[in-house]
């Protein structure tokens, strides 16, 4: 349906009056009471859902209708289609005050699942989350007959613990050795699960199966014998010698679905729920236990559970365990490593049954992850499966990370696996995203993995962004990785900071999605060594976008769609990109590491001009002011005197040298001027130290027009901070030199203003110039006659009709003249000491400041009224 058609339907739904709705409710009530209302009821409920969801305001349904919706939802005979719609309607209305629906009304898994979706939407005002959790547990513990029960309820529990971690009674998942609790029970009594199902089912999470299976498995990732704890105990290659033939905790994990075992077909045949032949994603027959990466023509109920359980495993391990078991501080780890009984050694022996359930769960999860790592190396036949392999790999590494935090003895067998994994993934650009959790694992497990973590971080910060920056998801994940890993990067932070030119490529290409991420990340990238270069790089960000665009146009196509704007044909730019004359500049702009110095890119601005108007460059330019503010927020924490003056000089220089994107200069100028004043406020001595540069900048008329905000800021800073009060080194000569330069400038500006009809510069600029001159004069009284003369000329500026600007200039000139008549007051007003900032001066009416201000304003007011007409 076209968007106008949908818009019309939505409008109709919104415009339905209360009266019509209540009639419609009556009709629905009648339909729901009939036994076989079928399609008509479905259609009516669809419409009701649309009416409710089309508006954000509440619609009132008649009570009988509300009641029937709830009854139908809980009915055991209603068609599933109707029940789904009833649940959707009640959820759409949530939160509903006085909802009669409770978990007690749901007597089977299917209904409870639907009721839960409604109750969990209520916002937990009546502790619905806990109630849903308890009922789901009860239903699961009631050992329902064979069927999809657990499969429907486990996601409910998963949602419950994620909404409210720790809400389930402690021990309900993992009781300490007792025969109670969900997982324990499922493990103990698996009569409802097909015993001969070949595959791992829920029970393995808590307790291994009891059917030993011979194995002939290779574990390519576990090369050394001491890291083969996962080997099936009855496996002939088991390193620990002949294993006990009886029940083993891990036997179920190593059950072989087909072909290898002596009697697999018997087991298959006796299953009530026969699975198809299980294969790997590459088409070969599976020789190890079933996982989410095993495929089959037909999936059994336990295989479906297996998929579900792996999907939920991280939530369970994180939130389902009793508090305190989930977080092991790194500092405590060494102690634990020494003292804890190794889960692995225990798990690989027959003693596994004696382990507490949490540890059995972890041992099982560990095995599963190992198998996933092995399976993810196979060449998938279908594209969807190859995507799934990557997702599984990420999940397995996240799980291993979690397991190693919870149980440090897993760390030693895990590290070699991850090293092998790194070797496999490192060179493959398609696997870049799966490297991120591996890197995170290596980083968070400290010294044990220091060498590898440094290597993988280097790879992630250099070639990955340089080559793969156009991928939006990779860009987001990599930046998120940097942002979230700041606190664990350690020596990696030393790698991250100089890699900013590479990270900025991601930002330059995906500025809308990544700007807010960089606002958080940038302050951590700023340090004394990188600050100036980073500032230049930020100002050149739109130019970088344009250069990346050219780089992509000249590289072989990697996707079906071009990633750039094909309507633009920047032929001259492309030629320039190859031109040896510009090569060094492009190489510098596209560098992957901080160079330690900066090159002036002005020649590139001209070359890349044709790309300045393209949408991506424009979007990036819009983000720069925000990024500059984020950058400067970090400056006070890292900058010393020398760095501040370098930054101030960079601001002065760059305000006249920016890539000419429409509106870019104006917006950046505003930020630069604010930040320059900010730097001066932080360190007033800057003005004295940089007096020559500031004078050079302010002394030219051209600056007034093209960089007005910056010019105003410089002039204002001179008036504010060029005084011995801020820096003893300030001399009368400096003040005089500034005064003379600005005096000449003001004269020039106002004269041209007199002669030329369109105003040459803004009245703000004139008033700032006047004020600064007066401030300087108040500090060096020889200058007072000169400034008074200048001001008196401005007081007599001719006024045009409706010329409010000139009025403002004249008023300010009069005020300043009057103040200068009392030099001591003028000095106090224009150069108040630091004590003027203390609150006492503002609160206490008897202190000098309010008094002085009152006197001054009286004087100023009186004299203003005497202005010549």
């Amino acid at each position: 349906m076209s968007s106008t058609g949908m818009e019309r339907l939505l409008r109709q739904a919104r415009e339905i009056q209360d009266g019509e709705l209540s009639k419609f409710c009556a009709r629905i009530t009648k339909l729901l009471q009939q036994q076989d209302s079928g399609a008509e009821a479905v259609d009516a409920l669809q419409r009701l859902l649309l009416i409710l969801s089309a508006t954000k305001y509440r619609r009132k349904l008649e009570q009988p209708c509300m009641n029937l919706l709830q009854t139908t939802l809980c009915s055991t005979t209603a068609p599933p289609q109707l029940q789904l719609l009833c649940a959707a309607i009640l959820r759409e209305m949530a939160p509903v005050e006085g909802l009669a629906l409770t978990c007690e009304q749901a007597h089977n898994s299917h209904t409870l699942s639907l009721v839960a979706s409604v109750l969990l939407a209520q916002g937990d005002r009546q502790n619905e989350v806990g109630s849903v959790g308890r009922h789901a547990l009860q239903l699961l513990e009631a050992r329902p007959p064979e069927g999809p029960g657990p499969r429907l309820l486990l996601p409910v529990l998963s949602k419950v613990v994620s909404l409210s971690p720790g809400i389930l009674p402690e021990g309900s998942w993992f009781p300490p050795g007792s025969g109670e609790g969900l997982l324990w029970q499922l493990a103990q009594d698996r009569s409802h699960l097909p015993r001969c199902g070949t595959l791992v089912h829920l029970s393995w999470l808590c307790n291994g199966g009891t059917v030993p299976g011979p194995a002939d498995t290779q574990y390519p990732l576990l090369s050394s014998p001491d890291v083969q704890p996962k080997t099936c105990p009855s496996c002939p290659r088991s390193p620990g010698g002949p294993a006990a033939p009886e029940a083993s905790g891990l036997a179920a994990l190593c059950q072989h679905p087909a072909g290898v075992s002596a009697a697999p077909w018997e087991r298959l045949l006796c299953s009530s729920d026969k699975p198809g032949l299980v294969t790997e994603v590459d088409g070969s027959v599976a020789t190890d236990f079933f996982t989410v990466l095993s495929t089959s023509q037909r999936f059994t109920e336990d295989q479906r559970l297996n998929v579900l359980v792996f999907s939920m495993l991280r939530t369970w391990l994180l939130l389902g365990l009793p508090a305190g078991l989930t977080a092991v501080e790194a500092d405590d780890r060494s102690e634990l490593e020494g003292s804890t009984q190794s889960v692995l050694s225990a798990a690989s022996a027959t003693a596994s049954r004696l382990l507490p359930p949490q540890q059995q769960l972890r041992a099982g999860a560990f095995e599963y992850c190992q198998r996933i790592l092995e399976q993810s190396g196979r060449r998938a036949l279908r594209r969807a499966d190859s995507d799934l392999q990557k997702a599984c790999l990420v999940e397995a590494v996240l799980l291993l990370d979690l397991l190693c935090r919870q149980e440090p003895s897993f760390l030693y067998p895990t590290l070699p696996c991850l090293k092998a994994l790194l070797g496999r993934l490192g060179g493959d650009p398609k696997q870049a995203r799966t490297l991120l959790p591996v890197a995170r694992f290596l980083l968070s497990h400290g010294e044990a993995a220091a060498v590898d973590s440094e290597a993988v971080c280097r790879h992630l910060f250099t070639s990955v962004p340089a080559e793969l920056f156009p991928c939006p998801m990779l860009a987001f994940e990599l930046v998120q990785f940097c942002r979230d890993s700041l606190h664990i990067l350690g020596p990696g932070l030393g790698l991250l900071k100089p890699s900013f030119p590479n990270l900025l490529k991601l930002l330059a290409w995906h500025s809308p999605a990544l700007t807010s991420e960089f606002v958080v990340l940038l302050p951590s990238l700023v340090d004394a060594g990188t600050a100036v270069e980073l500032l230049h790089a930020l100002l050149d960000l739109p130019c970088l976008t344009a250069a990346l665009d050219l780089q992509l146009r000249l590289s072989p196509m990697t996707s079906e769609w071009p990633l750039w704007d094909i309507s633009l044909r920047p032929t001259s730019c492309l030629e320039g990109f190859r031109d040896p004359h510009f090569q060094p500049l492009f190489q510098f702009l596209l560098r992957s590491k901080a160079a330690g110095s900066t090159l002036r890119l002005a020649p590139l601005y001209r070359l890349l001009q044709p790309l300045a108007g393209c949408a991506r460059v424009f979007q990036c330019a819009q983000a720069v002011p925000t990024l500059l503010h984020a950058f400067f927020s970090a400056v006070p924490h890292v900058a010393d005197a020398a760095l501040m003056s370098q930054l101030a000089l960079a601001l002065l220089e760059r305000s006249g040298s920016l890539f000419p994107v429409p509106q870019y200069e104006d917006r950046v100028h505003r930020v630069l001027s604010t930040q320059l004043l900010g730097l001066c406020r932080l360190r007033p001595a800057l003005v004295v130290e940089l007096a020559r540069d500031l004078l050079g900048f302010a002394g030219s008329v051209s600056g007034i027009r093209s960089q007005e905000p910056m010019f105003t800021a410089v002039v204002w800073a001179a008036g504010e901070y060029l005084t011995v009060a801020h820096d003893r080194r300030c001399t009368v000569e400096q003040v005089t030199r500034f005064f003379e330069a600005l005096e000449a400038l003001l004269f020039e500006v106002t004269q041209s203003r007199r002669s030329a009809s369109p105003p040459q510069c803004q009245p703000q600029v004139i008033t700032v110039l006047m004020t600064t001159l007066t401030k300087l004069a108040s500090r060096s009284q020889d200058l007072i006659p000169r400034v008074s003369l200048l001001l008196s000329k401005l007081r007599t500026l001719p006024v045009g009709p409706g010329d409010e600007d000139t009025d403002a200039v004249r008023t300010r000139a009069t005020e300043l003249t009057n103040l200068l008549k009392m030099p001591s007051v003028a000095q106090f007003v224009f150069s108040p000491g630091p004590e003027a900032n203390s609150s006492r001066f503002h609160r206490d009416a008897t202190t000098a400041l309010p008094l002085a201000l009152r006197t001054v304003s009286q004087l100023v007011d009186r004299e203003t009224s005497l202005l010549p007409a």
């Binding site: 349906m1 076209s2 968007s3 259609d43 409920l45 669809q46 859902l49 969801s53 954000k56 509440r58 599933p80 289609q81 789904l84 959820r91 209305m93 949530a94 939160p95 939407a121 916002g123 937990d124 996601p155 998963s158 949602k159 909404l163 971690p165 994603v281 989410v292 095993s294 495929t295 023509q297 998929v307 579900l308 991280r314 939530t315 977080a327 501080e329 790194a330 500092d331 279908r382 969807a384 995507d387 799934l388 997702a391 939006p472 998801m473 987001f476 998120q480 979230d484 606190h487 809308p512 807010s516 996707s559 769609w561 071009p562 750039w564 094909i566 393209c614 949408a615 991506r616 979007q619």
Partner: protein, 213 residues
Amino acid sequence: MRPPATSPCLGAMVHAFLIHTLRAPNDKDAGFCRVLYSCVFGAEKSPDDPRPNGAERDRLLRKEQILAVARQVESMCQLQQQASGRSSVDLQPPSSSDEPMSLHDAPHGAFRLAAGDPFQEPRTVVWLGMFSLGFALVLDAHENLLLAESTLRLLARLLSDHLRLLAPGTSLLLRADRIEAILTRFLPHGQLLFLNDQFVQGLEKELSTAWPL
């Protein structure tokens, strides 16, 4: 002092799924961004609000939250389309609906929502544009994005196949039951599932039996 070891991975589920309209960039006549379907899997805890009509305000807030996500997805998608120079024509379905859809080249992306804006918890949004429809998953901040991305593609593909979204004259507005049926199977209670291709086919067969086209 390090932060608690588990802090970066807390929460690993989908908070909401939504479908909304995507207007072509610069199309001033296309009305507003409309949410066509949304499903929140377990609401965030409601604030203790003693004033009357607290529930009503709560619902209003939730609707606004979902709309805020939809608008942001729309603008992200528009900006991405503009940046790659794709015209609004690409937002229209192909003239013949027999053409196989390649969702791998559809505009897509992810962005983060800070805590409090608009949800209480920080969230990550993964989105996908398919012609004039936007699909988005609002995730807990540290969900497995590779899985979320492929799940979103799968949902978009299933919805377009089973609701015949591309055929003229069909509307998803009056077919919520079918959307619900797809979600309960492929995203039960917001749980992302690791489904391999064969498994998806099995579930799809089951879906087609229960909800014939």
